[in-house]
Amino acid sequence: MMNPIMHQLALVKRELWEHKSIYVAPAAVAVVSVLVILTGYVFVKGYEGAVELGITAGQNVLGEAERRAALMGFLVGNTAIYYFAAAILTIFYCLDALYAERKNKSILFWRSLPITDAETVISKLLTALIAIPVVTWVVVIAAHLVTLLFVSLFVEIEGGSAFFMIWKSAPIFDVWAANLVAMLSLPIWYSPLIGWFLFVSAWTKRSPLLVGFLPLVVVPLLEYFILRTTFVRDAIQSRFDQMPLISGDKVIRIFDNHDFGNVSESFSLFDLISVPQFLASPAMWAGVIVCALFCTAAIYVRRYRDDS
């Protein structure tokens, strides 16, 4: 009997071989974002005087907390696009995961190996829940480092001190840790959709994209017209409300103060999220259960479906 964890590792690794977009897509985003920043510097080179002034101000006028806040804003802004890319990637991955193998008949080969249908479906779920976020996160770290290196080089060329202006103040570990937690929590929060897309992928005979999205629109409409209720619509909509990971009161406190100049030096992105609050959220667990039901259905379909 082979270790089921070894099995899962082999299966998830296989997903990374097959779906190269899991690392190619974030890498492409990283290359583009670094290029955009480089272009930006070439552009500001035209404003020699202003740049010098900016750097002098950055070094002498701004306090540590402001520099930290500015760099945090820069890093966070830089990261947003990766979330968008990961979301699109996850949707397309899930819709393809159990569909392509049927389309190209390789399912017959996979099923000739001693691997259960449950193990296979779980490996696809783990790829969406863990592998995609972790790969994206590693790319984000690499992109941050490259970007900050370029900025440092620029600051040094312009006569500033990169260590003082950037490396001493940049809250990189805070930003990275907070992003890792957020990147791993988001797919769990949206797991009902991930489960649904995996089920569609295992079940549909054609056009998984259409079959995946159409019911999300049609079912709430039908429910409203026939039953005059909005249960499904509310369920879908509530997923896009504020996620329970964000610790709402702290965010409000910061914005209520309107006083960014006074942000404390110890201010941390990590303070804005609350893992216990997320783990205690009934809405999150309800979503996980829905995901589990869809995955069970996907396993059942893969096992009992007989395409001949």
Partner: protein, 285 residues
């Protein structure tokens, strides 16, 4: 337990169509069983049931397991080649070996690599870059490196040229088959496997028409080439099938008195292909 596969009253329905209709058979250890039938006869359905890929009615036991419910345990001791199309096209050869090594407890990577080193297949090649014949060689190299008790081949040489087909079977016989293992094979090209089979089973319309060892065929079936009055006399003995060859009559008899037939014309044992036609057409007549 010498019987690896036992089916009792096994049926599989797709809607109103009975793809496999109440069949019973056994496959014993160390046999090479040929499953022969026209398209749509139920061969693939039968194999799928044996492989646990589809549920069926009746009793079916493979290696003492219920194939549909205990598929994972079963797959540790069964190998399966459907046809050349099923290896994923995006995968690289070394990735494929890695994956099978990590998921199959009875797979020997060294053995697969040794097999592959005799071919032109490069470890870094992608399956989609390989020719059809090379994909089969690759699949066969993996299968041969798995210490399995039962090997199931469903039209394994479909679409391959004659040289590959010959190599495939000689490889199978010389390097794989050792009397301990058991092979169940379906193919349209009966003539090519006739000599390697130990047992044969004909299937048509979901029913088994013949289930016999190759050794028993000569004592069960005889083909007579005759003409004129002798043909009339032979026809009265109840051939299962009759055809014309160059103005002569060729009749196939089942369990007939061979000496009686010797007097009526030239007798010999029918080839599997001819016997198959006789059984299928004879059953339809």
């Amino acid at each position: 337990m010498s019987s690896l596969v036992t089916a009792q009253g096994m049926s599989k329905r797709y809607g109103d169509v009975r793809a496999v209709d109440n069949v019973s058979f056994e496959i014993e250890k160390g046999k090479i069983m040929g499953l022969i039938g026209p398209n749509g006869a139920g061969k693939t359905t039968l194999l799928k049931a044996v492989l646990g890929l589809t549920d069926c009615e009746g009793q079916l036991s493979v290696l003492g397991l219920d194939p549909f419910r205990q598929r994972k345990q079963l797959m540790q001791n069964i190998c399966f080649i459907a046809d050349v199309a099923v290896l994923p096209r995006w995968i690289r050869v070394h990735q494929l070996l890695d994956f099978v090594a990590q998921t199959h407890p009875n797979f020997s990577r060294e053995r697969a690599e040794e097999q592959l080193s005799r071919t032109k297949i490069k470890p870094n090649a992608k399956v989609k870059e390989l020719s059809k014949g090379m994909v089969t060689q690759l699949h066969l190299s993996i299968i041969m490196a798995i210490d399995a008790r039962l090997l199931i081949l469903d039209e394994p040489t479909l679409g391959l040229d004659i040289i590959f087909r010959k190599e495939f079977y000689s490889h199978l016989l010389n390097d794989y088959f050792d009397g301990e293992r058991t092979i169940l094979i379906t193919t349209h090209q009966v003539e090519e496997i006739e000599n390697l089979l130990t047992d044969i089973m004909f299937i048509n319309d979901g029913r088994i028409l013949l289930d016999s060892s190759m050794e028993d065929i000569p004592s069960q079936f005889v083909e007579v080439m005759t003409s004129g009055e002798n043909a009339e006399a032979a026809r009265r003995l109840g051939p299962i099938y009759e055809r014309d060859v160059f103005g002569k009559k060729v009749m196939v008899f089942e369990n007939a008195d061979r000496e009686q037939l010797d007097a009526l014309g030239e007798t010999h044992t029918p080839s599997v292909a001819d016997l198959f036609v006789a059984k299928v057409k004879g059953a339809a007549a």
